[in-house]
């Protein structure tokens, strides 16, 4: 039975390119390259039980910045009406309290690694209160301005202490900066003035 070795006939692969092309086009059309972006926030944990709701944390009046939004999207910061564009400066002044003003948050001595002993306004709280009828865009504008205020302060501190922006600092430096300017935005329950 001396048979000649036949050998496998090669598979014709000239159409792999076409198949791959088809798959490619499918994924090209279904792909969405735009990454989702947004304002990252953290909600406070829910109250453990109803009795505890009235927390006994008393905050001194000078440590609180009241930001209120009414149903017509008018913004009130402290005691006067302001424009959204002014909010960032107001918030920055409030958070940093550069001249140790008596009406702005009190400062405490705190030892922060890498920065040493500093006077920080740890106790400050920015309280955002909105109405049920406030529009979402106005709410985001306010949140955005407040986050911008923190970011600018952190960048300024990073520049002066480490010579670079907050985002460019390494983890330890970022943590030090975060300790210096902790983000404290609290959101009160919305007020309901009748009807939707």
């Amino acid at each position: 039975m001396a048979r000649k070795k036949r050998g496998m006939p090669g598979i014709n692969s000239s159409s792999t390119a076409d198949i791959a092309f088809m798959l490619l086009i499918f994924f090209l059309t279904t792909t969405s390259m735009d990454t989702d972006r947004g304002l990252a926030r953290r909600l406070p944990a829910p109250p453990e039980n109803k009795d505890q709701k009235q927390d006994d944390i008393k905050v001194k009046e000078r440590n609180v910045l009241q930001v209120r939004l009414n149903k017509d999207d008018q913004l009130m910061c402290g005691t006067d009406y302001i424009d959204v564009k002014q909010l960032k400066e107001k918030a920055k002044e409030f958070i940093a309290n550069p001249y140790d003003d008596e009406n702005l948050p009190e400062k405490h001595k705190k030892n922060i690694p890498l920065l040493g002993d500093c006077m920080v306004t740890e106790m400050h709280v920015i309280s955002v209160q909105n109405d049920v009828g406030t529009s979402y865009q106005a709410y985001i504008d306010v949140q955005n301005e407040l986050v911008a205020a923190y970011n600018e302060l952190r960048n300024e501190l990073g520049k002066s202490k480490f010579g670079k922006l907050y985002n460019e600092c390494n983890e330890d430096e970022q943590k030090a900066i975060r300790d210096y300017y902790p983000q404290k935005i609290s959101e009160a329950e919305p007020k309901k003035y009748g009807g939707k």
Partner: protein, 154 residues
């Protein structure tokens, strides 16, 4: 000068296309990796607000979405023109948000659960009342990491 004599027509050399499938495959794999399929059909219409201090939403597998907006025109007859919540593929009430979060959390790997993020895609003209209700529900279900979806303002 015999060296430079042209002897006969040379013709174009054939282009070697044997590596073409490999090239295409490389591109294919690239797109397969970056692609994200939209797994829900939108039943509400929304235009997210604009902001400047935005962060990228990373790790898509850890993110659950909640859509709030006006129903699409074809559903408006049934649902009315008020802002509604959409979870997965259907309209939902605020009370269902908690169940949805628990369900989403169940589907995650256990080590990933603390990093769960909820992305709120809310139309910019929505009233805060409904958003606030959803936020309270999220608080109750300990989904504390949230992300207000927005687009970059130029």
């Amino acid at each position: 000068m015999g060296k430079f004599n042209k002897t006969g027509k040379r013709g174009m050399p054939e282009l070697n296309t044997s590596s073409l499938p490999d090239l295409i495959f490389t591109m294919l794999f690239f797109f397969m990796i970056v692609t994200t399929m939209r797994e829900v059909t939108l039943k509400v219409q929304f235009q997210v607000p604009q902001g400047t201090e935005l962060e990228k939403l990373e790790k898509k597998s850890l993110v659950s979405f909640i859509y709030i907006g006006k129903p699409m025109p074809e559903f408006q007859k049934k649902m009315g023109a008020e802002s509604r919540i959409q979870l997965n593929d259907k309209f939902a009430e605020v009370a269902e948000v908690q169940d949805y979060i628990y369900q989403e959390r169940e589907n995650m790997k256990e080590e990933d659960q603390p990093f769960m993020t909820v992305s709120l895609k809310v139309d910019k003209d929505t009233k805060m009342g409904i958003v606030q209700d959803v936020k309270q529900a999220l608080r109750q279900s300990y989904a504390l990491k949230i992300n207000y979806s927005a687009t970059q303002r130029q």
